[in-house]
Symmetry: C2
């Protein structure tokens, strides 16, 4: 069932194996380096050395550390690229756009099982948890904080993360009904205003029902 | 450091061991029964039979199935008792009371490590997850739904659960800053209005910032 091209013949003086072999070794080196030094501590140079390739090849295959990390831990969609996209445009609708992005991504049958497996690992295991949180903190929350701006940006980003994490765990991991079966539009309508308040609302005003 | 009465001497015709031994056997029987049949499927009668004691003794030690479950899986505080208490009183402040209860309970140094361990197990393991969600659904969400009332009570309870789960995971499991170090009052101020909207707010109104 493999329809790819045959593996290229080895050449003298080159690393063992062909291009796909080098890519696999970079991925494996990345996984080890991130596990040992955390997301912030790992460098593209150290990963290249570990894989026995030139740094330029690591950048050629993966571009940024964030993309290499996403590939190494098998994140099926890179939030470092997607989340800032959702925050572009009118800030008054950013909460709804963000919920819609998250729910449509996680609803996808190709994303969901890998996302759930990753999340179970992150929450179930302290070491994985700390490595992935380093990535989320640097690549996702940092961009959200920059986008929000102002002194209370870290507080707002943390609150936003709390509702996003809870939505994902409730809908996809523990499959709490009726949330688990709600339509995308229903989730956007229900959870969008919460994210909007965390992003741009007056956090110190009394609750609407109080 | 044990100041309780000494274990009673064994009598012929009684189960092996004293009172504390029977209690331990009920706990072990409960843990197995819940694991095999889920929270809803397990009965006090089956647990008594499995432990080789009279049903009355199970009720004597643990009162309700919910209390036995909390003891068997080592939940350090029974949400089936605490959450309905927080929902008593003025509905306009219920969101704030609920956040305060959750944060003060989880902030406690005796509760927190056991709560985190339990949550890691629940989310990390499909079987534990399903058993505990049966309990949460029956004993906690059902009471919240009854308390909210109306046709949209299940939807409101699910949304409430999503923010509560996310708050707990972000603050206590992945320890996301600045949320992890925020004071109880700050968390109540920030997250209370979200729970209040889910409990009593107009879910279909546009977000405040839109």
């Amino acid at each position: 069932m493999t329809h790819g091209p045959p593996a290229p013949a080895r050449r003298r003086g080159r690393p063992r194996g062909g291009a796909s072999d080098a890519r696999e070794r970079i991925l494996a080196a990345g996984a080890s380096e991130f596990a040992e030094h955390g997301y912030d501590g790992a460098t593209m140079r150290a990963i290249a050395e570990r894989a026995g390739v030139d740094s330029a090849l690591v950048h050629h295959y993966f571009g940024t550390k964030s993309e290499l990390f996403a590939a190494a831990v098998d994140i099926p969609a890179n939030p470092a690229r997607l989340v800032p996209q959702a925050l572009e445009g009118d800030p008054a609708d950013a909460g709804a756009r963000l919920v819609r992005l998250i729910v449509t991504t996680w609803d996808s049958p190709t994303f969901r099982p890998r996302g759930v497996a990753l999340l179970r690992g992150v929450i179930g295991n302290r070491r994985t948890s700390s490595m992935l949180m380093g990535f989320i903190s640097r690549e996702v929350l940092h961009r959200i904080r920059e986008r929000i701006g102002g002194d209370d940006a870290p507080r707002r980003a943390g609150l936003l993360a709390s509702q996003v994490i809870g939505l994902i765990v409730a809908r996809y991991v523990v499959e709490l009904e009726p949330l688990a079966s709600a339509s995308v539009d229903d989730v956007v309508r229900d959870v969008g205003p919460t994210l909007q308040r965390y992003l741009t609302g007056d956090l110190d005003e009394a609750s609407p029902g109080a």
